[in-house]
Protein backbone atom coordinates (compact mmCIF):
# COMPACT_ATOMS: atom_id res chain seq x y z
CA UNK A 1 0.00 0.00 0.00
CA UNK A 2 1.61 3.24 -1.16
CA UNK A 3 1.35 6.65 0.44
CA UNK A 4 2.95 9.93 -0.54
CA UNK A 5 3.34 12.68 2.04
CA UNK A 6 3.81 16.12 0.51
CA UNK A 7 6.45 18.35 2.09
CA UNK A 8 6.11 22.13 1.76
CA UNK A 9 8.55 24.70 3.09
CA UNK A 10 7.23 25.14 6.63
CA UNK A 11 5.56 21.73 6.96
CA UNK A 12 6.35 20.36 10.42
CA UNK A 13 4.07 17.35 10.82
CA UNK A 14 5.22 15.59 7.65
CA UNK A 15 7.43 13.08 9.42
CA UNK A 16 4.89 12.41 12.17
CA UNK A 17 2.28 11.70 9.51
CA UNK A 18 4.72 9.43 7.63
CA UNK A 19 5.46 7.47 10.83
CA UNK A 20 1.74 7.02 11.55
CA UNK A 21 1.18 5.63 8.04
CA UNK A 22 4.27 3.42 8.34
CA UNK A 23 3.19 2.03 11.69
CA UNK A 24 -0.10 1.03 10.08
CA UNK A 25 1.92 -0.94 7.51
CA UNK A 26 2.02 1.47 4.56
CA UNK A 27 4.94 2.23 2.32
CA UNK A 28 5.62 5.99 2.49
CA UNK A 29 7.37 8.28 -0.01
CA UNK A 30 8.03 11.92 0.80
CA UNK A 31 7.28 14.28 -2.12
CA UNK A 32 8.65 17.83 -2.39
CA UNK A 33 6.20 20.60 -3.27
CA UNK A 34 8.13 21.55 -6.41
CA UNK A 35 7.76 18.08 -7.88
CA UNK A 36 5.17 18.08 -10.62
CA UNK A 37 4.16 14.42 -10.48
CA UNK A 38 3.06 12.19 -7.63
CA UNK A 39 4.62 8.68 -7.65
CA UNK A 40 2.87 6.06 -9.80
CA UNK A 41 0.46 3.58 -8.25
CA UNK A 42 -0.35 5.65 -5.18
CA UNK A 43 -3.15 4.68 -2.85
CA UNK A 44 -3.26 7.81 -0.73
CA UNK A 45 -1.72 11.26 -0.43
CA UNK A 46 -1.06 12.81 2.97
CA UNK A 47 -1.08 16.60 3.23
CA UNK A 48 0.61 17.38 6.55
CA UNK A 49 0.27 20.07 9.15
CA UNK A 50 2.64 22.95 9.70
CA UNK A 51 2.98 26.50 8.50
CA UNK A 52 3.50 26.13 4.75
CA UNK A 53 5.08 29.28 3.31
CA UNK A 54 4.89 30.90 6.75
CA UNK A 55 1.08 31.14 6.51
CA UNK A 56 1.69 34.22 4.34
CA UNK A 57 -1.37 35.76 2.65
CA UNK A 58 -3.71 33.07 4.10
CA UNK A 59 -2.98 29.68 5.65
CA UNK A 60 -2.48 27.22 2.81
CA UNK A 61 -3.09 29.71 -0.01
CA UNK A 62 0.41 29.66 -1.47
CA UNK A 63 0.88 25.92 -0.95
CA UNK A 64 -2.38 25.31 -2.79
CA UNK A 65 -0.81 26.88 -5.87
CA UNK A 66 2.47 24.97 -5.73
CA UNK A 67 3.33 22.58 -8.60
CA UNK A 68 2.54 19.34 -6.72
CA UNK A 69 -0.99 20.51 -5.96
CA UNK A 70 -2.02 20.29 -9.64
CA UNK A 71 -1.07 16.65 -9.42
CA UNK A 72 -2.91 16.30 -6.09
CA UNK A 73 -6.08 17.79 -7.61
CA UNK A 74 -5.81 15.37 -10.57
CA UNK A 75 -5.29 12.46 -8.12
CA UNK A 76 -8.47 13.32 -6.20
CA UNK A 77 -10.41 13.89 -9.43
CA UNK A 78 -9.44 10.36 -10.49
CA UNK A 79 -10.98 9.13 -7.22
CA UNK A 80 -7.71 8.84 -5.28
CA UNK A 81 -7.64 9.02 -1.50
CA UNK A 82 -6.17 11.96 0.42
CA UNK A 83 -5.89 12.96 4.08
CA UNK A 84 -5.21 16.58 5.01
CA UNK A 85 -4.43 17.40 8.63
CA UNK A 86 -4.44 20.93 10.07
CA UNK A 87 -2.49 23.04 7.56
CA UNK A 88 -3.18 20.14 5.17
CA UNK A 89 -6.93 20.71 5.67
CA UNK A 90 -6.43 24.43 5.00
CA UNK A 91 -4.57 23.56 1.80
CA UNK A 92 -7.35 21.17 0.69
CA UNK A 93 -9.96 23.92 1.11
CA UNK A 94 -7.74 26.47 -0.67
CA UNK A 95 -7.38 24.11 -3.67
CA UNK A 96 -11.15 23.69 -3.71
CA UNK A 97 -10.84 19.91 -3.22
CA UNK A 98 -12.88 20.31 -0.02
CA UNK A 99 -15.55 22.97 0.59
CA UNK A 100 -15.42 25.84 3.06
CA UNK A 101 -12.57 27.84 4.57
CA UNK A 102 -10.68 28.07 7.86
CA UNK A 103 -10.78 31.44 9.60
CA UNK A 104 -8.92 32.81 12.60
CA UNK A 105 -10.05 31.12 15.85
CA UNK A 106 -13.01 32.95 17.38
CA UNK A 107 -11.04 33.56 20.59
CA UNK A 108 -8.05 34.83 18.53
CA UNK A 109 -5.66 32.57 20.41
CA UNK A 110 -3.51 29.77 19.11
CA UNK A 111 -4.86 26.64 20.80
CA UNK A 112 -2.69 23.60 21.54
CA UNK A 113 -4.40 20.90 23.57
CA UNK A 114 -6.18 17.57 23.35
CA UNK A 115 -9.88 17.81 22.57
CA UNK A 116 -12.79 15.39 22.40
CA UNK A 117 -13.87 14.60 18.84
CA UNK A 118 -17.23 13.05 18.14
CA UNK A 119 -17.34 10.61 15.24
CA UNK A 120 -20.25 11.71 13.04
CA UNK A 121 -19.81 9.31 10.13
CA UNK A 122 -18.22 5.88 10.60
CA UNK A 123 -18.98 4.73 7.06
CA UNK A 124 -15.84 6.11 5.44
CA UNK A 125 -12.51 4.48 4.71
CA UNK A 126 -11.00 6.77 7.37
CA UNK A 127 -13.45 6.13 10.18
CA UNK A 128 -14.72 2.57 9.79
CA UNK A 129 -12.95 1.40 12.95
CA UNK A 130 -14.77 3.99 15.04
CA UNK A 131 -18.42 4.05 15.98
CA UNK A 132 -20.87 6.87 15.36
CA UNK A 133 -21.14 9.01 18.47
CA UNK A 134 -17.86 7.72 19.88
CA UNK A 135 -15.74 10.49 21.40
CA UNK A 136 -12.01 10.17 20.77
CA UNK A 137 -9.18 12.26 22.23
CA UNK A 138 -7.03 13.95 19.59
CA UNK A 139 -4.75 17.00 19.90
CA UNK A 140 -5.36 20.27 18.10
CA UNK A 141 -2.68 22.90 17.48
CA UNK A 142 -3.90 25.79 15.37
CA UNK A 143 -4.58 29.50 15.15
CA UNK A 144 -6.87 29.34 12.12
CA UNK A 145 -9.19 26.39 12.61
CA UNK A 146 -12.52 28.16 12.68
CA UNK A 147 -14.36 26.32 9.90
CA UNK A 148 -16.78 28.30 7.77
CA UNK A 149 -19.33 27.26 5.16
CA UNK A 150 -22.48 29.03 4.05
CA UNK A 151 -25.79 27.87 5.57
CA UNK A 152 -26.74 26.38 2.23
CA UNK A 153 -23.51 24.40 1.93
CA UNK A 154 -23.76 23.32 5.56
CA UNK A 155 -27.21 21.84 4.92
CA UNK A 156 -25.77 20.02 1.91
CA UNK A 157 -22.83 18.63 3.92
CA UNK A 158 -25.16 17.50 6.69
CA UNK A 159 -27.59 15.94 4.21
CA UNK A 160 -24.82 14.04 2.48
CA UNK A 161 -23.22 12.80 5.71
CA UNK A 162 -20.02 14.64 4.91
CA UNK A 163 -19.20 15.83 8.40
CA UNK A 164 -16.72 13.26 9.66
CA UNK A 165 -15.95 14.72 13.09
CA UNK A 166 -17.33 17.44 15.33
CA UNK A 167 -15.82 18.97 18.47
CA UNK A 168 -17.38 17.80 21.69
CA UNK A 169 -16.70 21.26 23.12
CA UNK A 170 -16.12 23.71 20.26
CA UNK A 171 -12.72 25.37 20.87
CA UNK A 172 -12.49 27.70 17.87
CA UNK A 173 -15.92 28.87 16.76
CA UNK A 174 -16.30 26.46 13.84
CA UNK A 175 -19.71 26.43 12.19
CA UNK A 176 -21.79 23.51 13.56
CA UNK A 177 -18.76 22.42 15.68
CA UNK A 178 -17.18 20.95 12.54
CA UNK A 179 -13.69 19.49 12.99
CA UNK A 180 -13.40 17.39 9.83
CA UNK A 181 -15.19 17.11 6.49
CA UNK A 182 -15.14 14.53 3.77
CA UNK A 183 -15.46 14.81 -0.01
CA UNK A 184 -18.59 13.78 -1.85
CA UNK A 185 -17.00 10.49 -2.95
CA UNK A 186 -15.87 9.84 0.67
CA UNK A 187 -12.22 9.60 -0.36
CA UNK A 188 -10.76 12.89 0.83
CA UNK A 189 -10.80 13.80 4.52
CA UNK A 190 -9.68 17.15 5.88
CA UNK A 191 -9.50 17.75 9.63
CA UNK A 192 -7.94 20.28 11.99
CA UNK A 193 -7.11 17.81 14.81
CA UNK A 194 -3.96 15.70 14.50
CA UNK A 195 -4.62 11.92 14.48
CA UNK A 196 -0.89 11.37 13.83
CA UNK A 197 -0.18 12.95 17.23
CA UNK A 198 -2.37 10.34 18.93
CA UNK A 199 -0.77 7.34 17.26
CA UNK A 200 1.80 6.07 19.76
CA UNK A 201 1.88 5.32 23.48
CA UNK A 202 4.55 8.00 23.80
CA UNK A 203 2.07 10.62 22.57
CA UNK A 204 -0.08 10.12 25.64
CA UNK A 205 -2.96 8.72 23.59
CA UNK A 206 -3.57 6.32 20.71
CA UNK A 207 -7.08 7.20 19.56
CA UNK A 208 -5.73 8.21 16.13
CA UNK A 209 -4.34 4.76 15.36
CA UNK A 210 -7.73 3.39 14.30
CA UNK A 211 -7.88 5.94 11.46
CA UNK A 212 -4.67 4.69 9.87
CA UNK A 213 -5.61 1.02 10.45
CA UNK A 214 -9.03 1.68 9.04
CA UNK A 215 -7.48 3.07 5.85
CA UNK A 216 -5.21 0.06 5.48
CA UNK A 217 -8.12 -2.36 5.92
CA UNK A 218 -10.38 -0.49 3.51
CA UNK A 219 -7.73 -0.10 0.83
CA UNK A 220 -6.66 -3.73 1.16
CA UNK A 221 -10.20 -4.94 0.64
CA UNK A 222 -10.96 -2.46 -2.18
Amino acid sequence: MKVAVIVFPGSNCDRDLAVAFEQAGMDVTMVWHKDTELPQGLDIVGVPGGFSFGDYLRCGAIAANSPICKSLIAHTERGGFALGVCNGFQILTETGILPGALRRNAGLKYICRTVGLRVENAETAFTSQYEVGQVIDVPIAHHDGNYFVTDEKLAQLQGEGRIAFTYDDNPNGSVADIAGVISKNRRVLGMMPHPERAADEGHGGTDGVAMFRSLVDQLASA
Binding site: L57, R58, A61, I62, N65, T93, E94, P99, G100, A101, R103, R104, N105, A106, G107, L108, N146, F148, V149, G173
Partner: protein, 76 residues
Protein backbone atom coordinates in the same frame (compact mmCIF):
# COMPACT_ATOMS: atom_id res chain seq x y z
CA UNK B 1 1.68 51.38 -12.89
CA UNK B 2 0.31 50.20 -9.61
CA UNK B 3 -2.83 48.50 -8.45
CA UNK B 4 -4.22 48.35 -4.98
CA UNK B 5 -6.33 45.37 -3.95
CA UNK B 6 -8.60 45.59 -0.91
CA UNK B 7 -9.53 42.23 0.60
CA UNK B 8 -12.26 42.10 3.25
CA UNK B 9 -14.14 39.30 4.98
CA UNK B 10 -17.59 39.10 3.45
CA UNK B 11 -20.52 40.53 5.36
CA UNK B 12 -21.95 37.79 7.53
CA UNK B 13 -18.58 36.13 8.07
CA UNK B 14 -17.55 36.67 11.69
CA UNK B 15 -14.42 38.81 11.95
CA UNK B 16 -12.91 38.03 15.38
CA UNK B 17 -10.01 40.44 14.85
CA UNK B 18 -12.37 43.29 13.99
CA UNK B 19 -14.40 42.43 17.10
CA UNK B 20 -11.26 42.55 19.26
CA UNK B 21 -10.37 45.97 17.84
CA UNK B 22 -13.92 47.19 18.50
CA UNK B 23 -13.66 46.08 22.14
CA UNK B 24 -10.27 47.78 22.49
CA UNK B 25 -11.60 51.04 21.07
CA UNK B 26 -14.58 50.80 23.42
CA UNK B 27 -12.31 50.39 26.43
CA UNK B 28 -10.36 53.48 25.34
CA UNK B 29 -13.59 55.39 25.67
CA UNK B 30 -14.53 55.59 21.97
CA UNK B 31 -18.17 54.83 22.65
CA UNK B 32 -19.31 55.71 19.16
CA UNK B 33 -17.72 52.66 17.50
CA UNK B 34 -20.51 50.30 16.53
CA UNK B 35 -18.54 47.85 14.45
CA UNK B 36 -15.05 47.17 13.09
CA UNK B 37 -14.07 45.04 10.11
CA UNK B 38 -10.41 44.37 9.50
CA UNK B 39 -9.08 43.58 6.02
CA UNK B 40 -5.92 43.66 3.95
CA UNK B 41 -4.50 46.03 1.38
CA UNK B 42 -2.18 44.55 -1.24
CA UNK B 43 -0.19 46.89 -3.51
CA UNK B 44 1.03 45.53 -6.83
CA UNK B 45 3.74 47.06 -9.04
CA UNK B 46 2.68 46.17 -12.55
CA UNK B 47 4.04 46.42 -16.08
CA UNK B 48 2.38 49.22 -18.05
CA UNK B 49 -0.72 48.05 -19.86
CA UNK B 50 -1.69 45.38 -17.33
CA UNK B 51 -5.46 45.24 -17.40
CA UNK B 52 -7.93 45.28 -14.56
CA UNK B 53 -9.13 41.88 -15.79
CA UNK B 54 -5.68 40.46 -15.14
CA UNK B 55 -5.68 41.83 -11.59
CA UNK B 56 -9.17 40.42 -11.07
CA UNK B 57 -7.85 37.05 -12.21
CA UNK B 58 -5.04 37.35 -9.61
CA UNK B 59 -7.66 38.01 -6.93
CA UNK B 60 -9.76 35.02 -7.94
CA UNK B 61 -6.79 32.66 -8.13
CA UNK B 62 -4.72 33.74 -5.14
CA UNK B 63 -5.16 37.10 -3.46
CA UNK B 64 -8.64 36.48 -2.05
CA UNK B 65 -10.42 33.35 -0.87
CA UNK B 66 -13.84 34.05 -2.34
CA UNK B 67 -15.48 31.54 0.01
CA UNK B 68 -15.05 34.04 2.84
CA UNK B 69 -13.54 37.19 1.32
CA UNK B 70 -14.59 39.90 -1.10
CA UNK B 71 -12.14 42.11 -2.97
CA UNK B 72 -11.97 45.43 -4.77
CA UNK B 73 -9.35 46.47 -7.31
CA UNK B 74 -8.12 50.04 -7.73
CA UNK B 75 -5.75 50.84 -10.62
CA UNK B 76 -3.47 53.81 -9.92
Amino acid sequence: MKARVYVMLKNGVLDPQGEAVRHALGSLGFDSVEGVRQGKVIELDLAEGTTEDTVTDMCEKLLANTVIESYRVELM
